[in-house]
């Protein structure tokens, strides 16, 4: 069975919510839409206090090419445009909507009937990308990179295949798994749309073999779709990393930045993104909701919720039995790459793939000890870097050295820190180095 070649670790899977079907979360009383739900320029609000909005109404337009518009996921009245604490841990601009009823824009098709690509022969590549752009779709795996940018390859590069990332290598998370079990056909049509948008005839769906039911179902359904192949992958973290997935599925290696996946002919999209693309193009539904896994060992009812964007995490938590008493950390995302949240008073965004509650015992970091030069971090790094060295260079503020040692290639997967027997905060320091070096590179380029 295939997997990526260098590095990787095997954290405990803990897929507690794998057997719980997706259920719809209740509407919030007030929805808060951060203008920073994607990588790139923040969205610009186009509504003001007192405006009436429906589900699907545009709240904010894209702030640039690498940016995405934001639509209301609820109907009601805009109560204010002000700063709000978001999952990044900072207070940033957001639109607050007080919810009244549940009225949808008429253009949105809410029927569950499957629309196949053959039903809509008039759709060409340009039209698909345009629809995706206007629907505000971003990478739903958590990176939130605006989707239309990836589907508009820079001149000179040619896509050869599309790879759907259905790996879900993060422990605990099961949102993608449930999505595949419950909406396989929609995902396949979504993949067809992406293939048509970038003009290729080959599509892969990479699934780790800890989800045999999803592999079986998708393989079965994919038989009716020409050019689509399901690739079972050996379980290894971080297989869901874009570069790792390309290596695992088509055995090609993406060179160091500024090279991007398209340089080796691959376009990678998350399975949730494929589903959102299906809904946007075929059903005219902008990105207003997503599936989020609410889980944790002490959570009463680990669940996969279909929740509207802007719903406060507190409410999602309440729907799953409330915040457990022994909570140590609240994490937005998975345990490996997720970010600890300051409070549950944070609205969910396009990139919220999970809400993970870890108890104090399992999450507390041990006191760091001196590096014993065992090089476990080096063997674990999926990018072939030397984490112990990068962390030391960052700690001593040797940015030049960090740049030479390729700190910007780090994908922040945390494998090094996970594997370190001395519990050194390797990723903390490397992330500091990466941010600083990227800043230096940017300012150099600006000169």
């Amino acid at each position: 069975m295939k997997t990526f070649k260098i590095g990787g670790v095997h954290p405990a899977e803990n897929k507690l919510s794998a057997s719980s079907p997706i259920r719809e979360a209740a509407l919030p009383k007030q929805a808060v839409f951060s203008m920073f739900q994607h990588i790139g320029a923040p969205a610009k609000p186009v509504v003001k206090k007192g405006d009436e909005v429906k589900v699907g109404t545009l709240l904010a337009e894209a702030g640039g090419f690498v940016s995405a518009p934001i639509h209301s996921s609820v109907s009601g009245k805009v109560s204010k445009v002000d700063v709000a604490l978001d999952a990044s841990g900072t207070r940033r601009m957001a639109v607050y909507v007080d919810v009244e009823g549940d009225e949808w824009e008429e253009s949105i098709d809410r029927s569950p009937a499957l629309v196949k690509l053959s039903d809509r022969p008039e759709l060409d590549s340009k039209a698909i990308v345009e629809k995706i752009k206007n629907a505000g779709i971003v990478g739903m795996g958590g990176a939130t990179f605006p989707c239309h940018v990836k589907l508009s390859p820079p001149p000179g590069s040619k896509a050869e295949c599309v790879i759907i990332n259905a790996v879900e290598c993060e422990p605990y998370l099961t949102a993608d798994h449930r999505l595949m079990l419950e909406h396989p056909e929609e995902i396949l049509v979504g993949l067809q749309l992406i293939m048509k948008a970038v003009g290729v005839s080959k599509g892969y769906i990479g699934i780790e073999n800890n989800k045999p039911d999803a592999i079986a179902l998708m393989t079965e359904k994919a038989k009716n779709y020409a050019g689509i192949e399901v690739v079972p992958l050996k379980v290894k973290y971080p297989q869901g990393g874009e570069k790792q997935l390309i290596d695992a599925v088509i055995s090609r290696q993406v060179p160091a930045p500024p090279a991007i996946p398209i340089s080796v002919g691959a376009v990678v999209q998350n399975v949730g993104t494929a589903f959102a693309i299906y809904q946007a193009v075929m059903k005219n539904k902008p990105l207003i909701d997503r599936i989020i896994t609410v889980t944790g060992k002490s959570v009463k009812q680990p669940s996969n919720l279909l929740a509207r964007l802007g719903t406060p995490f507190q409410q999602l938590m309440d729907e799953c039995g409330g915040l457990p008493e022994d909570t140590g950390k609240i994490i937005g995302g998975g345990p490996m790459m997720g970010k600890a949240l300051l409070s549950l008073d944070v609205p969910m965004t396009k990139g919220s793939s999970g809400l993970l509650i870890m108890n104090d015992k399992e999450t507390r970091r041990a006191e760091p000890q001196p590096c014993i030069r065992c090089a476990k971090c080096v063997s674990a790094c999926p990018m072939g870097l030397e984490p112990y060295l990068l962390s030391k260079l960052s700690a001593t503020a040797d940015w030049e050295g960090a740049e030479k040692n390729d700190v910007v290639s780090c994908i922040e997967c945390g494998s090094c820190q996970f594997t370190c027997p001395s519990h050194r905060p390797l990723l903390d320091m490397i992330r500091l180095g990466k941010t600083t070096v990227m800043g230096i590179i940017r300012s150099r380029a600006a000169k």
């Binding site: 604490l85 905060p425 903390d428 320091m429 992330r431 500091l432």
Partner: protein, 316 residues
């Protein structure tokens, strides 16, 4: 046998001679003439290589001083560590005069003590303010206040900064602080300001850096500036206080040390350093009071002391 020895000695001797001639010529031809004054100036500098002067180490500063002297003026050159005495020595070596600016000191503009600013979370990552800053707000509800990991303390070469475990804030030892600015550069939130020390070390400072709107700032910290502007009104005459981004700032050059703003601040965010203790309830309209009983020395941990002074007045 003797021949071999002779030949060896002769050959080696000749090679040595030739090399000596080459070295002599080269050393003259490519001699670097360094102004001897650079070494002399370097000798009187503290040698801490702290970079507080803005040059790479003391030798860099010495070279810059000599260059500036050649151009006719030492203006703008200051070794903050050595201060006036060292600069006078430098000036005498270079045959110049130097006009000293007023002495400065580092001021930690945050009074978010554990008591004033409740901790909402606990940061257990790498113990570094810059790393914690990347998590967003850090441990408290204030996105502008001290992060408490002590990046500034570790950068201080003069043992002038220490974390106070009780308050969780760094405290400046004014006697030792040389205003080199290393701590100000190390702070990822720009809380530390290199500020005029003031006459007798007296100065009035807004001990807050929070630019959030009043309600948010108020909720995050008991001692935060909420941008109400009361201090600005009390200072209309001198116009020393400006309000920008919901944060008041006192211009040290314009401040007349009347301390009216300190009384006016409803949150106790403004602090007077090294002033003699106030007499309870006696009106003293203008500040330069004749009572100099207190020397500036006995208040190394000033930020915490005024809090206690202010709080009773707030309770009224």
């Amino acid at each position: 046998m003797v021949n071999v020895i002779l030949i060896a000695v002769l050959v080696l001797g000749l090679i040595g001679l030739a090399a000596a001639v080459i070295l002599f010529i080269v050393s003259h031809k490519f001699a670097v003439h360094e102004d001897p004054r650079i070494a002399q100036v370097g000798a009187v500098l503290p040698g801490a290589n702290c970079g507080g002067c803005g040059y790479p180490g003391c030798s860099g500063f010495a070279a810059a001083c000599v260059k500036a002297a050649n151009e006719g003026s030492l203006e703008g050159k200051l070794c903050p560590v050595g201060g006036q005495p060292v600069m006078e020595q430098v000036a005498s070596i270079l045959g110049m005069t130097v006009e000293m600016g007023a002495p400065k000191v580092a001021v930690v503009r945050c009074n978010g003590t554990c008591e004033n600013r409740p901790r909402l979370a606990q940061f257990d990552g790498a113990k570094s303010c810059r790393v914690q800053q990347m998590t967003g707000m850090g441990e408290t509800g204030c996105g502008y206040g001290c992060l408490g990991c002590g990046d500034c303390v570790s950068k201080c070469q003069f043992d002038a900064l220490h974390m106070n475990p009780e308050t969780g804030l760094p405290e400046v030892d004014e006697e030792k602080c040389t205003a080199c600015g290393a701590c100000a550069k190390a702070c990822p939130r720009g809380i530390i300001e290199i500020r005029l020390k003031g006459p007798k070390g007296r100065r009035v400072v807004v001990l807050c850096n929070n630019k959030d709107k009043g309600a948010i700032a108020n909720k995050a910290c008991k001692a935060s500036c909420i941008g109400c502007g009361k201090c600005v009104k009390t200072c209309e005459k001198f116009e020393a206080i400006t309000l920008e981004n919901n944060l008041a700032y006192i211009d040290a050059e314009k401040c007349k040390m009347c301390r009216k703003c300190e009384e006016a601040c409803p949150k106790g965010a403004i602090h007077g350093f090294n002033f003699p203790p106030r007499k309870p309830k006696t009106e003293e309209p203008t500040a330069p009071s004749p009572q100099n009983t207190q020397s500036p020395q006995n208040t190394p941990n000033t930020p915490s002391t005024p809090t206690k002074e202010v709080e009773p007045s707030k309770a009224e």
